[in-house]
Symmetry: C2
Subunit: 459 residues, 2 copies
């Protein structure tokens, strides 16, 4: 350890029944866990015992798996899931310290609903809510919202920027101490403490005020994972936690430094932005045990799913005509995630993989860093990325649940604690408190420029 008192931040990315694409077929998996509250409650208790900063729920407004027919979708499986806010509200009242992060799309929601729901859950959890801001990436979702295909990438991020103005403006509807509930005087709130937003912009006209008091955290913690130029610019302006996928230390370090620089360019304190790459850990008491665990999962991957996954990671580019034992062809541009397409393409070229080898290498981590080994191996990698300033923490993606989380909490967390890298007790009962993020004062969001980045928006 150096002189710095930085400690790791950990998110539990608990895609049920596991992050591995074949997880639901694993003998120990709770294949029906996606709609089982007791299953999630148990996972959360484990994560809280492991002192995780937060529990994160990924989401799509529709089935994001690309499938040609019901048979193919059935092979993929694992798409049933509670609406994230429904799930987190219920979990909020069964936990005491862990942060609760839900994904919600700026492309298919109205800002008033989002502001109100996240404010509600921040009150309900006494300051533990976080919002993973996404612009969505599939046409399948667009088709559930009156469109044939999604708006293009630039348009999605333009809407997202204005969306943030409105949502933070609504959270600022009331002074923190506006509500005095003065029964004698008959004044529910201090009239000076009300602030009507009256936003009129290109995408939204929203008057306000919100019918919920200012959230305990000021604003719920803002998370984002955009990897494109537009996505990174958005994160630099808004994100307090940045999720990302990186394969190598170098890649992660470059991204980390780039993000911090861009945040600083907006006038932000880079320390107030935590960069958390994904980590897919397969943990065994020995390396052989870990390798065996991984092999069991890999054996369960249906070839139809493997190829489908690759298609999805490439942004819906159709490669079904290409021979599985040949190389990946040159790719046309995608309206989906350009950065993810590039990542996968680079990997195939760098490692000289056939299509089949490529999809087999991706079924586990799906672009995220895989580590297969002992608790010390996992901790070594985390420590290296952390001390080399490639990460402020990690988004831990257990291959199969609940086993993979149990392994991490029982084996890896104690090792991180022994090394002084991770807390043994929560520092705070709020997510901001645990992440080391300041509580924004009313009006804080309006103080920075809306954009300094590549895309010019109105105003």
């Amino acid at each position: 350890m150096g002189v710095t008192r930085r400690t790791l931040r950990l998110g539990a990315f608990l895609l049920t029944p596991g992050y591995h694409v074949a997880s639901w077929r694993h003998p120990t998996a709770r294949a029906d866990g996606g709609l089982d509250f007791a299953h999630y409650r148990e996972l959360l208790h484990t994560a809280e015992r492991g002192r995780f900063d937060m529990f994160f729920v990924a989401d799509g407004v529709g089935i994001r798996t690309p499938y040609r027919d019901a048979d193919e979708l059935s092979r993929w499986g694992r798409f049933l899931q509670f609406d994230p806010l429904t799930l987190l509200s219920a979990l909020a009242v069964h936990t005491t310290h862990i942060g609760l992060a839900a994904t919600a799309s700026t492309t298919y929601n109205e800002p008033f609903h989002i502001a109100r729901k996240f404010a509600s859950i921040d009150h309900l959890s006494a300051g533990r809510a976080a919002w993973n801001i996404v612009t969505s990436v599939t046409d399948a979702e667009a088709r559930n919202f009156n469109r044939d295909s999604q708006p293009d990438h630039t348009a999605r991020y333009q809407r997202a920027r204005e969306f943030m103005e409105v949502v933070t403006g609504l959270w600022d509807s009331w002074d923190d101490d506006a509500f005095g509930y003065d029964k004698e005087a008959g004044r529910y709130f201090e009239p000076d403490g009300m602030h009507v937003l009256d936003h009129k912009g290109e995408h939204f006209s929203v008057r306000g005020p919100l019918n919920v008091a200012r959230p305990p955290q000021g604003y719920p913690v803002l998370i984002q994972a955009g990897a494109s130029a537009d996505g990174q610019d958005f994160a630099a302006r808004w994100a307090e936690v940045v999720f990302t996928a990186a394969q190598t230390l170098d890649e992660a370090r470059t991204f980390y430094r780039g993000m911090k620089r861009q945040a600083a360019a907006y006038g932000r304190d880079p320390g107030q932005m935590k960069v958390m790459p994904g980590l897919f850990p397969v943990v065994g008491r020995t390396r052989a045990e870990a390798e065996d665990k991984y092999a069991v999962l890999q054996e369960l991957v249906d070839p139809v799913v493997g190829l489908g996954l690759l298609t999805q990671l490439l942004g819906d580019v159709d490669i079904s005509g290409c021979p599985l034992d040949g190389p990946l062809p040159e790719l046309p541009p995608t309206q989906g995630s350009t950065s993810r397409q590039q990542l996968v393409y680079d990997k195939a070229r760098r490692e000289g993989l056939t299509i089949k080898e490529l999809y087999r290498s991706l079924t586990g981590g799906r672009g995220h860093r895989i580590v297969i080994g002992t608790p010390e191996d996992v901790a070594d990698l985390m420590e290296e990325w952390f001390t080399d300033e490639a990460a402020d923490g990690f988004n831990v993606m257990p291959p199969v649940l609940p086993q993979g989380l149990d392994d991490f909490v029982d084996l890896v967390v104690p090792e991180l604690q022994r090394r002084g890298l991770f807390r043994t007790e929560y520092e705070s009962t709020t997510l901001r408190g645990n992440l080391g993020l300041d509580r924004p004062a009313r009006g804080a969001a309006a103080e920075l420029p809306l954009s300094t980045g590549p895309v010019q928006v109105q105003e």
Copy 2:
């Protein structure tokens, strides 16, 4: 009791901190209860002890109180509230039998979100979710959703009809037994069990399928309270519980019979529609005690609020120029609730009230039937309305919380039970089971005509 085995249905309409407009100023009120989960949890435990069929959360997407400035709004108070689905999700995992009914607007939501959220909470609560379908009534809400004023009444109900087609269609995305989670065969669901909606209509294009399994109740219980011709036609087609406001037995009986007739005209079994008027009970051990309780609340009504309330009930008709001690003038038509305007107007004329007398008479029940008296008085009224087929049950609106609910559960419920009018134990763990409503088979919603009523919609 006659030969019929009908028993009462009871909803707990727990607008915090009480239904009376001045409730929040009452010495016993939890003025800050609107954002206090522990307060709601306590109320729900009381309601469950009282064997209520369900807990109902009214809602607006914005502050519905009409106010000129912050000072006036501050006198109204009591507008802070959790987003209903956030609250109900959290309450679902702290209760075991009581139904959980949330209001959501078809005018300011997208059907995919609503279908998914209510399906989620039905799974979370193991079959206790209900949706109070509203088309919203204020311009204040419209202004939070990119509009200057609300769409007109007819347009709102046309959208609502198509909204219902989509939502029920999404709930029918999967056969009840579609998900077998067959790990060995690698089939998450039975491919024949998937049904892609692919709705293309005037207001919505929604492909589906939903990423949540069919709700345990088939569809969550559908509630509606439209009172206009359009509203009643909608209820006749869709509502399984009909909320209403009626002052007199005659009025209630007329409405009840009309609703059942209209339901039958759609080909429905009228027994599968439960009509539940609102009831505002002020309960004392003696009549004098009850009168005193009411007087305490009435004394707390701010005159600014009284006049504002009347304006609201009249559908935003401005009567601020009229003398308080004079009669109500003739009224222009409203885009808000026409039926409620008529109700209030009729009352003023019938009882020869001045504007001031009128608003004082409305501050408590706001159009709903008020009963002030002993537990026997309250039970007498309920029994009369019930046996005379003016009501299948009541939506109980305690004046101030938690006291008013305690009074009802401790004093009135035992009296109803003694008379054999109300259950002593829950019959079921699902809301449908307790209400005596059948579980709809997949496709049931699509079997009836979309409209037989006064408004012709497309198709």
